[in-house]
């Protein structure tokens, strides 16, 4: 069972080798003149206080929760989709109810203004 995944690991190994190789090459070939001016974060050339002042609105949290709601449904949808032809009408009705409940949540979130992002 494990051998099936070997090619994947080999591929990823090659990816790692490429990445590490490039890094090593860059550090050996590239110049190393680090000056304090180079180190400050770029913000259009004017002096900056870095990124700690960033306040983020709650709509990011809302999107994350909506993502959780709809992504977990994949955990249930994929096994059903795989066996769909062998499940008969019980499977169909069950999943239509499942998807319509999701439709209701989507309509609810839509009407409650979860998707008005900016204004």
């Amino acid at each position: 069972m494990f051998w099936e995944y070997l090619p994947v690991f080999v591929m990823l190994l090659v990816a790692v080798l490429v990445a590490v190789g490039l890094f090593v090459l860059t550090s050996s070939v590239g110049p190393k003149k680090m000056t304090p001016e180079k180190a400050i974060p770029y913000e259009g050339g004017s002096e900056t206080t870095g990124a700690e002042g960033l306040r983020l609105s709650v709509k990011f949290f809302l999107t994350a929760i909506l993502f959780v709601v709809f992504d977990i449904e994949a955990v249930f949808l994929y096994p059903w989709a795989g066996l769909f032809s062998r499940l008969g009408w019980i499977g169909l009705v069950e999943m239509l109810v499942f998807l319509s409940v999701l439709g209701v949540t989507l309509a609810y979130a839509w009407k409650k203004g979860a998707f008005e992002w900016e204004k």
Binding site: L6, M95, F115
Partner: protein
């Protein structure tokens, strides 16, 4: 003696990785030449015949640049993000069947594997933005995460349609089913084609291509997530973006256009898969060089108010279609 499985693994794994990385490099060359033609200019011509060695020249140029790490940056995450992007994209390729039985790993959980890794793609983009302690990068990172996870939903739902039709999650099974029956994108017209269109748009958004490329919105956020990156690290981000586009078009052609299945009686094989992938890659490039960019909130509104309900409906319709009209094959072949 190395058991045959291990041999198969080493060869396929290595060849696939190397082939893909070089294919992407020349994908960049193709895009620059094509963009040139679209803008009535020549594109790279200096290096090698018709600029063919331009990607190599780019790599060498980037290599000898100094790689900076900003002072307040979180060093490990900052250094780890670029290779991670390439890492996750390459992992998605492991499951795609290029030839009749030419697949790096013929896994029974094909489609969820692809979705898992394209979901993971959001992670390095976010850490890059967070680690470089720069306001623009952080804003870009937040938007990238919001866009990445939102477009994951329609992608996830429309990827269900081929699984429902073929009755198995293994991508090779799906392609074989399409070879015997019909390409999902062409028949049935309702769920098949729309599913492909939504899947294609979500892949565009996942790969952060125009018109969905808010994370690297040059004009607004300077360079978005990659503002603080320079030299080869920026090169890796750039490479990962093109690799992701190539992989997305490969997945789309495998799931919806019958990967290695040929038409007009020509023999099946890897050439068909490459042809389809490159046409989709060309389509993505064409879109990229002709459209403007959406604003962040328009982007999210499109996803949540158009794509997600449409894909929900599509899954229902395809379930009903398979249940009630499985024998309605298309007129031609299939």
């Amino acid at each position: 003696m190395i058991p045959p499985i291990v041999l198969h693994g080493l060869i396929y794994g290595g060849v696939a990785a190397i082939a893909l990385l070089t294919l992407t490099a020349w994908g960049i060359w193709f895009e620059r030449k094509f963009a040139g033609r679209m803008q009535s200019r020549l594109g790279p011509t200096m290096v090698g015949w018709a600029g063919l060695l331009q990607p190599l020249a780019d790599v060498l140029k980037l290599l000898q640049k100094e790689d900076l790490v900003p002072a307040q940056a979180d060093r490990t995450l900052y250094l780890l993000s670029p290779p991670l992007t390439v890492f996750f994209t390459l992992a998605t390729v492991a499951v795609i069947p290029f030839g009749v039985d030419v697949a790096v790993a013929n896994l029974p959980i094909g489609v969820p594997w692809i979705l898992a890794f394209s979901g993971l793609m959001v992670f390095p983009v976010w850490t890059a933005g967070w680690a470089s302690a720069n306001k623009y990068a952080l804003l870009g990172a937040m938007r990238a995460v919001a866009q990445g996870i939102s477009y994951e939903i329609p992608m996830l739902l429309t990827a269900l349609v081929p699984v429902i039709f073929a009755g198995s999650m293994n991508v090779n099974e799906i392609v074989r089913w399409q070879a015997e029956h019909h390409w999902i994108a062409l028949w049935p017209p309702g769920p098949g084609l729309f599913a492909f269109v939504i899947f294609f748009l979500s892949c565009l958004a996942e790969a952060n291509r125009i018109p969905f490329d808010i994370p690297e919105a040059e004009s607004e956020l300077v360079a978005g997530v990659t503002t603080e990156y320079s030299g080869m690290r920026f090169g890796l981000f750039y490479l990962a973006e093109y690799l992701h586009t190539l992989v997305a078009s490969a997945v789309a052609s495998a799931l919806f256009f019958g990967g290695w299945n040929g038409i007009f009686g020509l023999p099946d094989g890897i050439h068909w898969m490459l042809a389809k992938t490159l046409t989709l890659f060309f389509l993505i490039t064409w879109i990229r060089w002709s459209l403007l960019r959406f604003r962040a909130d328009q982007l999210m509104r499109i996803c949540w108010t158009y794509l997600v309900p449409a894909s929900l409906a599509l899954v229902m319709i395809s379930a009903l279609w398979v249940h009630y009209a499985p024998q309605l094959g298309p007129m031609w072949g299939g």
